[in-house]
């Protein structure tokens, strides 16, 4: 096959700058347009992100794996009947449907007492995030909680759920705090990010200011051990200080060194 004429695709000489940013820089151009290859790579990334939003949560394997580990699991649904209504009606994704409320209430009535923490799993905006990351993450955190004598309530899986649906579950189970594991809105380069939200004393109407979030948990992001460590720290502090949210975050962030941006500017440095 003949090579394309050299001027058809113009490569950008600043490709070495790619090492400094995940941004799609130095893509080159055909005429003034995006060359075929980066154009199709973008389409692929978008397709993966879209699929992540629309793929249904595959519950049976999760159920089997969790039960095999000795956890009790309840399978529930939000009031959003399908993906379309889930996307357009955030209010429906924040509460359980009637059947799920009955299941939850019946189970809660049989529980001997309160629990320290309830884990809630929701597909959110990326079932892939749950499929890929949930079990390795729980394997990093649940055994430790058991060793440290935390009383965990039954695990709830909520299909078509948003973050706030965890409040209803936690409240019904009389949990001191609720941890919801949920698929985050997929970015083009990260369709599989798991988000973790901790809420102390969950109540209907809790706002984001009352929660702590650990974001970007995935193989190529924040790893499971680090995320589990961070969650355990937040849970312990929430229990000790009897709160979660903004007030808790301030201290947690202060204790973990934030990378201060260095003053370097490659645009203005002169000489070699």
């Amino acid at each position: 096959m003949e090579k394309p004429l050299p001027e058809t695709i113009v490569a950008d000489p600043w490709q070495p700058l790619r090492q400094f940013s995940p941004a799609r820089i130095a893509l080159g151009h055909a005429g003034i347009s995006l060359p075929t290859r980066p154009q199709l790579e973008f389409q692929l990334a978008h397709a993966r992100a879209r699929d992540a939003v629309h793929l249904p949560l595959d519950i049976p394997p999760l159920l089997a794996a969790l039960e095999q580990r000795g956890h009790e699991v309840m399978v529930l649904r939000s009031a959003a009947a399908d993906r379309r209504s889930y996307l357009q009606r955030p209010d429906l994704g924040r509460r359980l449907d009637n059947e799920s409320r009955r299941i939850l209430a019946a189970r809660a009535a049989q529980l001997p007492g309160d629990c320290d923490v309830a884990f809630v799993i929701a597909d959110g905006l990326s079932a892939i995030a749950i499929h890929d990351n949930l079990l390795p993450f729980l394997d990093a955190v649940l055994p430790r909680l058991a060793r440290e004598q935390w009383a965990c309530g039954p695990i709830a899986i909520v299909a078509q759920g948003r973050v706030a649906v965890g409040d209803e579950v936690g409240l019904a189970l009389r949990a001191q705090m609720v941890v919801i594991l949920i698929g985050e809105r997929p970015g083009l380069s990260a369709p599989d990010s798991l988000g973790i939200y901790l809420t102390y004393r969950p109540a209907i109407g809790t706002t984001d200011a009352g929660r702590n979030c650990i974001s970007n948990v995935r193989r190529a992001g924040l790893d499971y051990e680090a995320a589990a460590h961070k969650l355990f720290y937040l849970m312990s502090e929430a229990r000790r200080r009897k709160l979660s949210g903004v007030a808790l975050k301030d201290e947690a962030e202060a204790s973990s060194q934030r990378l201060t941006a260095p003053g370097r500017n490659i645009l203005v440095e002169t000489g070699g």
Partner: protein, 463 residues
Amino acid sequence: MTAYAHRVGTHTYRYDSLKELMAKASPARSGDYLAGVAAADDEERAAAQLALADVPLKTFLNEVLVPYEQDEVTRLIIDEHDAAAFAPVGHLTVGDFRNWLLSDAADEQSLAALAPGLTPEMVAAVSKLMRNQDLILVAKKCRVVTRFRNTLGLAGRLATRLQPNHPTDDPTGIAASIVDGLMYGSGDAVIGINPASDSIASVMTLLQMLDASIAQYRIPTQSCVLCHVTTTLEAIKRGAPVDLVFQSIAGTEAANASFGVSLNVLDEAHAAALSLRRGTIGDNVMYFETGQGSALSANAHHGVDQQTCEARAYAVARRYRPLLVNTVVGFIGPEYLYDGKQIIRAGLEDHCCGKLLGLPMGCDVCYTNHAEADQNDMDVLLTLLSVAGVNYIMGVPGADDVMLNYQTTSFHDALYVRKVLGLKPAPEFETWLRSVGIFEPGDALRLATGLPQPFRHVLANLS
């Protein structure tokens, strides 16, 4: 309260208030359904539009949608209304106003003179009676020119904001995207970073970095770090080189409060920015972003439809003679604008309404991955807005913002639309692009090959 009605066959549709009539006359969008204010079906919507067409424009001065006593944005709109400017259209109904806007009587001069006489509710109302082509045609007749270090909004020009965001605000990563953008002719509207962190230290670092870069290459443009206005105020107090003050704003006092701002805070920021006198050819020093759905998402919409709330944000913006205002139309998500069709419509509405109110409107032509939209929808909106004379659009590497996790227009996209429509960058910036060697000499919009000499040291320093 006045009742509004329209009869279709044997059925009479009734609307208890102007607010209800406006909401039901709005072209369908998910946010109005979410708020429970939308028409139940297409017939009720069309009937509402017919009823709205008969409402005199003057009504909007007497029947406010958000109570005057409760809302400083309403007070701003009513108290600063220019009755003399309004007079030429003061006798018209909303429907007649549409006809007037489309007529030859409405031209660049008459529309500029009219702007202070229009309220957001009037332009929102007439936009609800307009098709997309009307929104384009009317917007194209408006011209709003602003200046800081260059001239934005001239006929035949399309500017871009170079948006070099980075997930951790790393200055070297940001510089890499700035080089990429400049080499593709982007950045005349502003080089503007959305910081991942609102911390004052990080913001100061970025402001200094942008200032040094613009000075080093003598780029006729301005910089902005899009942090909260109070952070920028603090940066100014600490002596940071602030060109433009940024803030997200919305159309009600309560929604602005949820953003942590008020007219008082914005007044203070505007005065602080003016005091720096950093603009060389003009003193438009403010940059605002808006977007339909923000008031509802803060539960601060007072039952008003989201497009009207959005237009009210423009009343806030125009108080400050901003250099730049853009709607971030598809960022908010499908619960407010569900798909490409709704995003495209909203982008054209926002642009047209902003221009009618005298604002230098740009648009962040964008979408998230959970919206029913893709690059083809963005191509449509980008092309339509550019035909309509939008002042500027965004530019990010490869259309993928790796910090905000959404897709907006790329550097390549801007070149596409400049090429097909014969649009050029801001004149001072165009001259710079050619003199530095980024564009080839002559009139054609052609990228020069190779890295221009002034930028070669950037790569040399890496080795």
